[in-house]
């Protein structure tokens, strides 16, 4: 196996705490230096450049230092990533630009209903840990399709897995690169199209030379930056508003004040109101959609290959389980803070923006209005000056009413430093954090796609006798090709693609989850049954998405198409079950294989020698 560590490697693993401790201290020092420079009069533009290029430079350096020519290192980081650090890497792998920048704004706009995302994007880790990760780790090969191939008799099942993986991951990676482009263009003052390719370079230097090994250690570094950047503005905001710098506890006060203000302004659907429609009544269909979305996001989490493959990298089955717990802990730190951002943002808007004469609005409203993320739509010609005001008719009384105020979901996190009156260096820090979140997720997704193509399609299906050297060259070439394709798609600002991102969860949930879970937990699952189930689940989900989105098909039972997994998941389970019972049971060798991956200790007894891994 790939455990034959190279010389300096053991020392690196043993000193991880020290290395990342120094790194964190260095980053803090860097932020302080920039703060001093700002006070000395260095321009915002220069500070933005320093943030973007220095952080990308550090990631690139880590990527370069982690270069490798060994298969085990390239595909699974040598299987020596300790549970704690794999948890951090998974955290940044998981939290995308949407989580970092968009989630708090979604909660601001949707109130309670937005919490479906908070629940759905955390609870799925329970499924990962109890149903899948430890067994996939024991199986011990390189990719998720590897498991499907070994369990379900070869290349057809493997190929189905690859199709689902690419469908779920490609739109997702496109939106990450789009996010990188948005942040880089805003803080560097360059055009979006150029910014996309700057981001692309940042992604490739992290992953190309060292594969999974490089991505792992940059993701840990990116997690540290993104969590610091996320917490600092809202902690200061909380201290300012409530006197206590613990936003997660103190936003209860903000919620109380919001409720009072809502009443005085005549808001019918309150921030904390549950499943309520525009009239403020409880709406059953909203409730059903709320729970359907939670289910699809959770099951989808447990089936997304770029997350599952992170648990291939731990030293043992035991550490794989611990690592899922650490992952969720690190993700939790951000997700339980997001609602605080939303509450403090809303309080600021209700207290200091709504009901204020246009001339006296706070400065942040003006500055974010200029770049189109905020709209003050009182004046009759507001729609010509603010993109956000399209379709809003103001009464022109010179005072901003609630229905004349528009804010984009991205603005909440980005504007908080300014709302709290913090220096520009904090805004730069937030940008660096958003960049880290987008880059780390893009890295993980790109690697998942490129590995599926190079390992599963090229090596397993096309040329099983390819020498190591050629396999590595192919892997890297495919990584570049996929990255450029994704960047090209992102640079065209495709609105349909971006709307499709949330579909990834339902697609993975319908196409992969049943086959993976039943392969481990139900020995009777036959090859034909699993393949039929994958086709059925994926087919139902994609059919529903495409028909409702593009061909005007009415919704089934009023379920929004983002939750198409609600139909796809049961379809896949039922078809797998019925077809398995109709076809011959798996062989004795296959049953022994399943037994061997259910137990942490001992070897894995592959049913077919062709499935053995070679280095």
């Amino acid at each position: 196996m790939a455990n034959n560590a190279k010389g300096g490697d053991g020392g690196f693993i043993a000193n991880l705490g020290k290395i990342y401790g120094i790194y964190t201290g260095g980053f803090a020092g860097f932020v302080i230096v920039l703060a001093i420079l700002e006070q000395m009069g260095v321009s915002n533009q220069v500070i933005g450049y320093l943030f973007v290029f220095l952080t990308i430079g550090v990631y690139a350096l880590i990527g370069y230092l982690s270069r490798t020519a060994e298969m085990g290192e390239y595909y699974v980081a040598g299987r020596k990533v300790p549970a704690f650090y794999n948890g951090m890497a998974t955290g940044s792998d998981w939290m995308s630009a949407a989580s970092f920048i968009g989630m708090a704004g979604t909660l601001y706009l949707l109130g309670y209903d937005g919490l479906a995302f908070v629940l759905g994007w955390t609870g799925g880790y329970l499924l990962v840990s109890i149903l899948l990760a430890p067994y996939l780790r024991k199986f011990g090969q390189y990719t998720v399709p590897d498991f499907l191939g070994a369990r379900y008799g070869g290349n057809l099942a493997r190929f189905c897995g690859v199709i689902v993986l690419i469908s779920a991951s490609f739109t997702y990676v496109t939106s990450q690169i789009f996010g990188v482009g948005i942040i880089a263009s805003r803080f560097l003052g360059i055009s979006f199209e150029i910014a996309v390719f700057v981001g692309l370079a940042g992604i490739l230097v992290c992953s190309m030379l060292g594969g999974m090994r490089a991505v792992t250690w940059t993701q840990v570094a990116q997690y540290i930056i993104l969590i610091i950047a996320y917490l600092i503005p809202v902690v200061i905001m909380s201290a300012k508003v409530t006197g206590v710098p613990i936003p997660q506890l103190m936003y209860g006060q903000a919620l109380e004040k919001i409720a009072v203000l809502e009443q005085s302004m005549g808001v019918v659907k309150g921030h904390t109101a549950v499943f309520s429609n525009a009239k403020g009544e409880i709406n059953l269909l909203d409730a059903v959609n709320f729970f359907a979305l939670i289910l699809c996001l959770m099951v989808g989490t447990a089936a997304l290959p770029h997350i599952l493959m992170r648990y291939f990298t731990t030293p043992s089955v035991r550490e794989a389980r611990q690592s899922v717990a650490w992952s969720l802990f690190f993700i939790f730190l951000l997700y339980f803070t997001a609602p605080a951002y939303a509450a403090f943002g809303k309080l600021e808007v209700y207290q200091n923006v709504i009901g204020t004469p246009i001339a006296n609005l706070p400065a942040w409203v003006q500055s974010w209005g200029e770049i189109g993320l905020v709209g003050t739509c009182d004046a009759a010609d507001a729609a010509t000056r603010y993109v956000m005001c399209k379709g809003v008719v103001g009464n022109g009384d010179g005072i901003l009413q609630l229905n004349e105020f528009r804010i984009a979901s991205d603005a909440i996190v980005l504007a908080t430093p300014e709302i709290a009156g913090l220096p520009y260096v904090v805004a730069g820090l937030v940008a660096a954090g958003g960049l880290a979140a987008a880059l780390s997720t893009a890295d993980g997704l790109l690697l998942a796609i490129a590995n599926a193509l190079s390992h599963d399609v090229y090596y397993r299906m096309i040329d099983p006798h390819a020498p190591t050297k050629r396999r590595l060259i192919i892997s890297r070439a495919l990584l570049i090709v996929v990255a450029i394709a994704a960047a090209w798609v992102a640079s065209t600002k495709p609105s349909t693609i971006l709307a499709m991102v949330a579909w990834a969860f339902s697609i993975a949930a319908s196409g992969l989850f049943p086959a993976l879970v039943m392969g481990i937990w139900w020995k009777r699952t036959s090859n034909t049954g699993a393949i039929a189930g994958m086709v059925a689940g994926y087919g139902v989900c994609v059919y529903y998405l495409v028909m409702t989105q593009f061909y005007g098909m009415p919704l089934w039972f009023g379920i929004k198409n983002i939750s198409c997994g609600l139909f796809g998941i049961p379809a896949a389970f039922i078809v797998t079950y019925v077809v398995s019972l109709m076809t011959t049971a798996p062989t004795k060798e296959m049953q022994d294989f399943i037994d061997s991956i259910r137990v942490p200790k001992g070897g894995v007894k592959l049913a077919s020698a062709d499935d053995a891994i070679s280095h």
């Binding site: 309670y112 919490l115 908070v118 629940l119 955390t122 609870g123 880790y125 329970l126 499924l127 840990s129 109890i130 149903l131 430890p134 997660q248 506890l249 936003y251 209860g252 006060q253 903000a254 919620l255 109380e256 904390t272 109101a273 549950v274 499943f275 409880i282 709320f290 729970f291 939670i294 289910l295 959770m298 030293p315 043992s316 089955v317 035991r318 389980r321 611990q322 899922v324 717990a325 969720l328 802990f329 939790f332 997700y335 339980f336 609602p339 937990w521 037994d595 061997s596 259910r598 137990v599 942490p600 200790k601 001992g602 070897g603």
Partner: protein
């Protein structure tokens, strides 16, 4: 199963499955069941938070994290009891 007798292997898997179902119960309770009652829970206020909102924004998340650490140690105890934990 390397050195487990068929009976022991069966007992091991029964215990592991039992823990799996317990965890799925916790998952369902905190992921879904609690929130069915969000409208009722929201009438209770704790340090400013309506309880229904709090459970979806924080309470369930804390339960998820804690239960995962508990699961990791519990499954490890089962592995050691049956002598199938990996030696390091």
């Amino acid at each position: 199963m390397s050195d487990l007798s068929p009976e022991k292997a069966k007992a091991y898997w029964a215990r592991t499955s039992g823990l799996m179902w317990t965890m799925l119960g916790i998952w369902f309770f905190f992921g879904f069941a609690v929130h069915f009652f969000a409208p009722q829970l929201n009438t209770i206020k704790i340090i400013g938070f309506p309880l229904g909102f709090y459970m979806a924004a924080q309470g369930s998340l804390i339960a998820f994290v804690v239960s995962l650490f508990w699961f990791a140690s519990k499954q490890n105890a089962i592995d050691e009891e049956f002598g199938v934990a990996e030696d390091e």
